[in-house]
């Protein structure tokens, strides 16, 4: 078997990318989570909350829902099929905190649960907040 043959054979053995399935699933699940958020926002608006607070209510409700579903081991089962559809929404951020917090509880409440909660959320906050501080400094300088 020449190197070329081998490469052709190896190429065939690689399982085909499941993008044709992954991408519609991510779209569907991510879109539905946003629809759920919109329902909460519209409900909050109908109670007379102002726009910013209604938007925050939508996010907070989804965070709470995600935390509970993660605790029941439901969220991770959905995530297996939905990929980025459950990762990119704010529910994925909450899941990334709850999941390691549960898993590492056995290593203690401080350095297990408390520290591992931020293994993914930590970097998100570090770079997100730092980017916003840089933006603020640019605004002050240009002010």
């Amino acid at each position: 078997m020449t190197a070329k043959d081998y490469q052709a054979a190896a190429q065939k053995a690689i399982p085909p990318s499941k993008s044709y399935k992954n991408i519609p699933m991510a779209f569907l699940v991510g879109g539905l989570l946003c629809v759920l958020g919109q329902a909460v926002i519209n409900l909050a608006l109908s109670f007379g909350l102002e726009k910013d607070m209604a938007s925050a209510c939508g996010s907070i409700s989804l965070i709470l829902l995600s935390a509970v579903l993660t605790g029941l081991n439901v969220y991770d089962n959905i995530a297996k099929h939905a990929g980025a559809g459950t990762l990119v929404p704010i529910t994925g951020f909450a899941n990334s905190m709850v999941s390691p917090a549960m898993e590492f509880k056995s290593e203690g409440y401080i350095l297990g649960l408390g520290a591992k909660m931020f293994s993914i959320a930590g970097p998100v906050l570090v770079y997100g907040i730092s980017a916003s501080v840089i933006y603020g400094l640019i605004l002050v300088i240009m002010g």
């Binding site: 990318s17 991510a26 946003c34 935390a67 980025a84 704010i90 056995s106």
Partner: protein, 120 residues
């Protein structure tokens, strides 16, 4: 009212589908994708490009993590306008405090109550 939901679905779903493209066709890990989405949200928010999407798609733009980044940028912009330099440091967390506190507290309570699934 119904169009609210339609645009939230299409825009939110679209942002998630882009994330799936990164997972399928690049070597970006989920953690890197989350970090990138937040930073991109801060940049788009800072350039004033994200607010039109928020006005148009509502939760479709605020629920994806880019919305979290845009919220940080918006908080900083408003705080700098009111408080100057101090606002550059206080604005981001002030605007996003409710979401962050809810995520931390919910994670703690759920982790205390829940049993982790068997890893065996």
């Amino acid at each position: 009212m119904l169009t609210d939901y339609l645009w939230a679905f299409l825009v939110g779903g679209g942002i998630c589908a882009v994330g799936q493209l990164f997972i399928d066709y690049t070597k970006l890990t989920p953690a890197r994708i989350l970090v990138s989405y937040v930073v991109v949200g801060v940049i788009l928010g800072g350039l004033g490009l994200y607010q039109p999407l928020l006005d148009f798609a509502g939760a479709g733009a605020s629920i994806p993590l880019t919305g979290f980044g845009a919220l940080l940028a918006k908080g900083v912009r408003e705080a700098v306008a009111e408080q100057g330099l101090f606002g550059a440091f206080s604005g981001g967390l002030t605007a996003s405090a409710a979401g962050i506190a809810m995520a931390i507290f919910a994670a703690l309570v759920v982790a205390l109550l829940a049993k982790s699934k068997d890893k065996s």
